[in-house]
Assembly symmetry: C2
């Protein structure tokens, strides 16, 4: 039961597409991630997923359109909706999603992270 | 299914202690609130509540200690824990909590907000 400083937590890691858990409440996780480049198309069957941009510009590609998210903007990807996060330059995001959420959703590949580190 | 810009939403209201709903996912609400002055001691029997400070300094008083939250810091008040938010100067916060959460928790008074506005 301590306060969390986002900048301090962001300073603790540098790798991309590897979310860290920084908080838990009501069965949901609060995570931080650094993104660079293109991820993989995926969806989450049971989880809505919120991306809040803390730094940079995140391009969230959906099958029917693209959404550009700047610092201070968020987007909620509803469960079942395919999405592809793209970061042309490094992006820092805060994620809010159920504790059950797998980063690559319905896809299993080298980008998949199983047990996430807690900071 | 649109992106949300926090600054744009914050510009839409000016009153204090009256959270607005700006997102919903997995049975949780994302809210914005402006705080000024002292709230009321209360707790939430069934809900953990997250306060992320977007602007200003929030003093979160607990029965056994005080926690000072600056911009870019958050605190999760676990269910059942009495807390008293205090904002000496205006504070803007992002809240994450279950859709069932009542702002004054176990207390009903003039500060209680029933149906919240959606922005």
């Amino acid at each position: 039961m301590e306060k969390i400083n986002l900048a301090q937590k962001l300073a603790l890691f540098a790798d991309h597409w590897n979310p860290r858990i920084i908080g838990e409440l009501n069965g949901q996780h609060v995570k931080l991630a650094k993104l660079l480049g293109e991820f993989v198309w995926h969806s989450h069957a049971e989880e809505d997923e919120m991306f809040l941009v803390l730094k940079g510009t995140l391009l969230m590609r959906l099958r029917d359109r693209d959404i550009e998210l700047s610092e201070g903007e968020f987007f909620i990807v509803p469960r079942g909706v395919e999405h592809l996060p793209v970061a042309v330059e490094e992006v820092h995001v805060l994620l809010f999603e159920p504790a059950s959420t797998l980063n690559t959703g319905n896809v299993q590949n080298e980008r998949t992270r199983g047990e996430l580190e807690r900071l």
